[in-house]
């Protein structure tokens, strides 16, 4: 944990209690988010991105069990905080934008009401709170913000609702913004505009961002660092440029190689790789990607790879880069 880290996740493992058994959604996940940096979190559906986000926000489902790990926000390990202590950080030092803009705002309260409610920490008059809300809507380029305050979420377009959500999350100028696929529901042009907007606001406020997405193009466009997850594990993490130029993990390699042209612009989902993701209730003993890996060799099926520092990447979980295994 250095002073330049806004968020540091250490060895985090989270399971869900399910009727079929313990589902090990996230295993030994570690990565850092630099102060004022943007980290992209990429992975197929079900690889544990949302679980990770809920853990950071202290909003894990009742069935979730934190098996081990630490989540450091500055000098505090969020996992040691009580509910009340965590609540004090939420909406103040930590902001969040969720996946589904259609349903993540309260449907029966006006935008203005919701935007003033979240300012409950400040001893300001209702009028001032409204003015701050208008100013924030203006910042996310919502036209005629004063009139929008009296609208209900269903009266706004999807793109506008998502910008309202971003405005709300950034209103308190948090140290950290966690955004779960904030642009997935938007069309490509709107997605790019929202990304630009986020980048601008981020530079103004100086917050760090964890940006969860399926979209590699967005990551290369927006993120300083990239974390690639697969079946609940971080398989590779590092600076975006280095990672995109020379991926070290065969999974990352396949993701990028599938269709490099699609990475730039319009691809809405991760490319498909033959084979299936292993079940998370009985996780295989070796490498989680072994079954689909074109470069698998003897130890992959039985030995679980450890995270390695390799030039260009901060961590790679692959035996190919482990001198002890390959030699």
């Amino acid at each position: 944990m250095t002073r330049n880290t806004a968020l540091s996740i250490r060895d985090l493992s989270i399971s869900y209690d399910t009727p079929e058994g313990r589902l090990r959604a996230i295993r030994e996940v570690s990565f850092d988010v630099a102060r004022g940096g943007i980290t992209g979190l990429v992975g197929e559906s079900g690889c544990g991105k949302s679980t990770l986000m809920s853990a950071i926000l202290g909003l894990l489902d009742g069935a979730a069990i934190v098996e081990s790990g630490e989540i450091w926000l500055g000098e505090t390990d969020l996992l040691t905080l009580s509910r009340g202590e965590m609540r004090r950080l939420l909406g103040d030092r930590i902001g969040a934008v969720f996946q589904d803009p259609m349903r993540s705002l309260n449907p029966v309260l006006t935008i203005g009401r919701q935007m003033t409610d979240i300012q409950f920490r400040h001893r300001l008059s209702r009028r001032t709170k409204r003015e701050r809300a208008i100013e924030m809507l203006h910042k996310v380029r919502i036209p005629d913000p004063a009139a929008r305050l009296d609208r209900y979420p269903h009266e706004l377009s999807g793109g506008m609702r998502q910008r309202v959500a971003i405005a709300m999350a950034l209103m308190a100028e948090p140290d950290l913004l966690v955004a779960d696929e904030p642009t997935t529901a938007l069309d490509a042009t709107l997605e790019m505009r929202t990304i630009e907007l986020l980048r601008e606001l981020q530079q103004e406020i100086g917050c760090a961002i964890v940006f969860i997405t399926h979209h590699l193009g967005v990551v290369s466009e927006l993120c300083d660092d990239t974390v690639i997850m697969y079946a609940g594990e971080v398989v590779e993490a590092g600076p975006t440029r280095a990672l995109f130029e020379a991926p070290r993990h065969p999974y990352t390699d396949l993701l990028f190689a599938c269709d490099p042209a699609r990475i730039r612009e319009r691809s809405r989902h991760l490319p498909t790789i033959p084979g299936t993701v292993p079940g998370l209730i009985d996780v295989p003993p070796g490498c989680v990607f072994a079954e689909r890996c074109p470069e698998r060799f003897a130890p992959c099926g039985r030995l679980h790879p450890r995270p390695l520092r390799v030039r260009g990447s901060e961590a790679v979980r692959c035996h190919l880069h482990d001198p002890e295994v390959t030699s």
Partner: protein, 314 residues
Amino acid sequence: MWLYFLKRLGLAVAVVAIVIAALFAMIHAIPGDPARVALGPRASEELVAAFRERIGLDQPILVQMGNFYVSLLRGDLGRDAVSGEPVLRILLSQLPDTLYLVLGSILVAVVPGVFLGTLAARHRGSLIDRVTSVISVSVMSIPAFVIAIYLLLIFSIELQWFPAIGAGEGVLDRLHRLVLPSLALGLAWIGYVARILRASILEEMNEPHVRTARAFGLSENRIMYDYVLRIAILPTITVLGIGVGHMLSGAVFAEIVFARPGIGKLVFDAIISRNYPVVTGAVLLTTIFFVLVNLLADLVIAWLDPRVRHDLAG
């Protein structure tokens, strides 16, 4: 919105018309000559014929029905077959007591029901949840007349806390006498309200907007009362609208058991004496009341939920 209102009103008129038609058919199907029953076996043939003519029973049923609709449009519900008083006046004199009873029952259902439902949802899976669930299911499964009789036995006869019969005079006395009958009619609905509300709160709690509210550090109380209950209460309002129908039919026996005046008691007596104009009028009035209550429930829902308003406007 207005269009919707007009549509609903049209529907309401249709419902009332159909209910009246069904009622005429039913009266027609009841065996025995109503005039004979009303006047007794020893009345002369002329007297019976005159009676039949007076209440229009000598005409074919379709003509009777047509006449009824026509005079209904003029606000005339006919006359009491026995006393000759206008039916409307009789009904209006009995209506308030039944309204108070239904209102009292709704209050009995809603206040504890909402409290228990919210409590159970907040302490889901705990002992409190299980206790409220047992309470809800037990009150739901006891028939209202059994509750009525036990209430009478315990609180009026044994403990003598409440008078057993009558509607009373003056505000306090009326309220006092309203307690037991309202309890008898409303008690089961505590269970319905609590169960439905609990389920819809838990469902709403899983909605992403609740997670958003939590992610801004809003307190659980704020989330429950300002963000969730407003939405979760909507199905309960619909169900209560229908519940009023059950309470109206329950009012018949409650008014008899507690010897209260009211529409229920009136209908009962009128059926016994084959006083059909009164029966028809009373059924008409309760149907209108029921339809209006449901319309009101829909308006309250539209008022609470802007999405419904939006759909109605569109």
